[in-house]
Assembly symmetry: C2
Homo-oligomer: 445 residues x 2
């Protein structure tokens, strides 16, 4: 790949820094990396050729950025393929709807499933239904999602996606359709992981766009007897291979103490994964590289680019298992995986004695218009696996007001990133990471 | 279809009016009709089953609305079918792009066309190129469109869509890709009619979305040697049948004098044709029906719902040919076909002696925040055929700032219509049409 040339060039053009003579950082670096990944690799679903290309891209670019150590860690993962999908109202108003298979869904028989529809306004309403309402029908869960800055609404609607197929099948349904878990009125269907229960038959599960959900609801109001046909030819193999990609800036004084900053390298297949999570990849790579330009940190900064986050934190679990014996040397972990909006709040999950240091970090962030949060930080999806094992975490919380407009759709592309907002993110990440990596604080205490 | 019940019901609930005792109009009627058409018929490409369903829908609903005469006029039309389309970057950065065939395009061989790409920033730059730059390549015209209220930017970019394939083929190209003629950064490709020249080989022509055009331009900057593969399986038959649908409110004093208000019933196949032109259909049907509720007008109001506007004014030409002998009895014509934004300006194309009456109409419109325009009105695409034959026209000009965000995409759906803006349109159409239909002015003079 000739992708390295422009990146190397940009690093060379950006004057190398020393602590004695600091010079301006290349504030474009996170954007340049995100642009490179989303253009030269594009979609990178775990197990796919794009996934392999992203691992090669990350390895070469971490090396080109001057990381002290760069390596990959293999893990086995399911490889699910979307295939073709088609959803048609057969009668009384024939027309096609815009849909996408939910990640992990089984397909339909080749000639599809024809059925009438039963609509519910929530997963809870489905669970409360009687089998005779649902049996042999296609279940449609039509629950809207509202916008918010913090992402707190996601948890209120994502249950239909994650568990809807199991609950529908338990009552005898033939398939599940959900209104997309998303906040845009654009006609994109939002994919995302769904799960099965071994004790319940596996039925196909799809999402339709918000305008299509509104259309289907109108059709069912006019014609409750409407018939629909679903065709889906997904495929899954269980034993594909993927990799976490890791790059380190070795600590000058405490090289065995690890400050982990992460993002996930995989993306859904529909878009180019710019917001989810190309921006995060660009941010954490640039953060570590630019800190090194300022001078080697005291502690080691480890950038972990996780594989297969979207399929259910598969790379994150592999990392935690492989590094189980050195988790006590992970002094802190944090992840960027909520798009590219400005950071508006800083939260921690520290032991009580470390909270004064949280305030010290906050003082560095306040000039970037970042307010103090609480001491119950999430940390990020992959990093939450480490948090559950006792690793302290922080969250640089992004404004996600528009995140679910694009999340898991074909519309998650580079143009949705505001370079100025990404620069603000980069500054915050550098300040937080540098402060932690040059300290001696034990955040567990 | 049971679609008639809610419409009849809404008419009955809306108290019938008499001139002696006027009562409030049903201001929702245009929206209700648009909702009914886009839900119960959906896409209605000329020659398709949806087209036939729309003709049945229009006939029944004009009858249900109490029009004095309702009839259809058959014409022969080409029937073009989109089929499947696929565009992949093969090397060096394999990925799929979001595309759509341009209307009327031929397909590719079944195994597609593989070629390198030559990019131009405009149709003019392509025309100025040398054959050796273009021969055996796929031409990519990457011209951006800017937003404006009046739609005046459309003419500056649509040439690449209409004539690009001819100019590219003249220089030996294998296919044409254009950046969508659209103003949104959403990942939808905008279709639209293209044309061939019998003297030049027919090559396939497609549009890619704006984010995909930006992506392809970035790829070509990094890798000018990039290879691409296009597969397209469009089909066309020449002798399909479609219909204009016509409804009249017969004039009480001058029944032979026709005030024609029109819209087009057909739509592109990707969306449900809400903005283009379901809103127009709803508006002109509601206008005539609600005027009749106020009392029979002196002149006849003829609602013409044109077939196959999108394929090149096929229905409009058929209407002009069939009614050639009574065109001098068409005292005025006007069309609603620019979405559902608020009307902001009123323009005429009258003889000079009628301009004082234009000012009288304007006085009715000013309270609706509509400003006076000029005496060089367009009239609307279908109605422009009549204008060329000497029929006076007016334009109730809509704010089209967002129109080309949705135009000819899958995203042209009912939710994009603001019911309040549509009500303002309806009020303006009723005031203008009623004023003209109750006058005796000869607008040719």
């Amino acid at each position: 790949m000739n992708s390295l040339k422009p990146l190397l060039l940009s690093l060379l053009l950006s004057p190398l820094l020393s602590q004695a003579n600091p010079k301006p950082l290349n504030e474009q670096l996170a954007y340049q990396l995100t642009e490179s990944l989303t253009t030269e690799v594009g979609p990178r679903l775990a197990g796919s050729p794009g996934d392999r290309a992203s691992v090669a891209w990350a390895t070469k670019n971490l090396q080109a950025l001057g990381f002290d150590k760069v390596w990959t860690e293999e893990f086995v993962t399911p490889y699910w393929q979307r295939g073709q999908a088609r959803l048609e109202i057969l009668s009384p108003y024939p027309q096609s709807l815009v849909l996408t298979a939910l990640g992990g869904s089984v397909g339909t028989p080749a000639n599809g499933i024809d059925a009438s529809i039963v609509m519910f306004d929530s997963l809870e309403a489905l669970i409360a239904a009687k089998p005779e309402q649902v049996k042999d029908k296609i279940v449609f869960i039509n629950k809207a999602m509202t916008k918010d800055k913090s992402g707190s609404q996601y948890g209120k609607v994502v249950g239909a996606r994650a568990k809807g197929a199991v609950e529908a099948a338990r009552l005898g349904a033939k398939a599940l359709i959900i209104r997309s878990v998303g906040t845009s009125s654009n006609r994109f269907a939002h994919t995302g992981k769904m799960t099965y229960d071994p004790a319940v038959p596996k039925i196909p599960a799809v999402a339709i766009s918000v305008p299509d959900a509104q259309q289907l609801a109108r059709v069912l109001t006019k014609a409750p007897e409407a018939k629909i046909k679903l065709q889906l030819d997904t495929q899954q193999t269980e034993d594909a291979v993927s990799h976490n990609v890791i790059g380190e800036i070795t600590g000058s004084e405490r090289p065995d103490e690890i400050v982990l900053i992460g993002a996930h390298l995989d993306s859904w297949d529909q878009g180019t994964g710019a917001l989810d999570d190309g921006a995060g990849v660009g941010l954490v790579m640039a953060t570590a590289a630019l800190i090194k330009q300022q001078g080697q940190p005291k502690r080691t900064i480890r950038v972990v680019l996780y594989g297969n986050e979207e399929g259910g934190l598969v790379g994150a679990r592999a990392y935690a298992a492989k590094h189980a014996k050195e988790l006590d040397k992970h002094v802190l972990a944090s992840e960027s995986d909520f798009g590219a909006g400005r950071i508006w709040q800083f939260s921690t999950k520290f032991g009580p004695k470390s909270l004064p240091f949280a305030a010290e970090i906050q003082r560095e962030l306040t000039p970037l218009q970042i307010q103090p949060g609480n001491n119950d930080a999430f940390g990020g999806p992959d990093v939450s696996v480490l948090k559950a094992l006792g690793v302290p975490v922080v969250s640089l919380e992004q404004d996600g007001s528009d995140y679910f407009d694009y999340h898991h759709t074909p519309n998650d592309t580079l143009d949705k990133i505001d370079p100025a907002a990404l620069q603000q993110n980069l500054q915050a990440w550098i300040r937080m990471t540098s402060k932690v990596a040059n300290s001696t604080i034990d955040f567990r205490k």
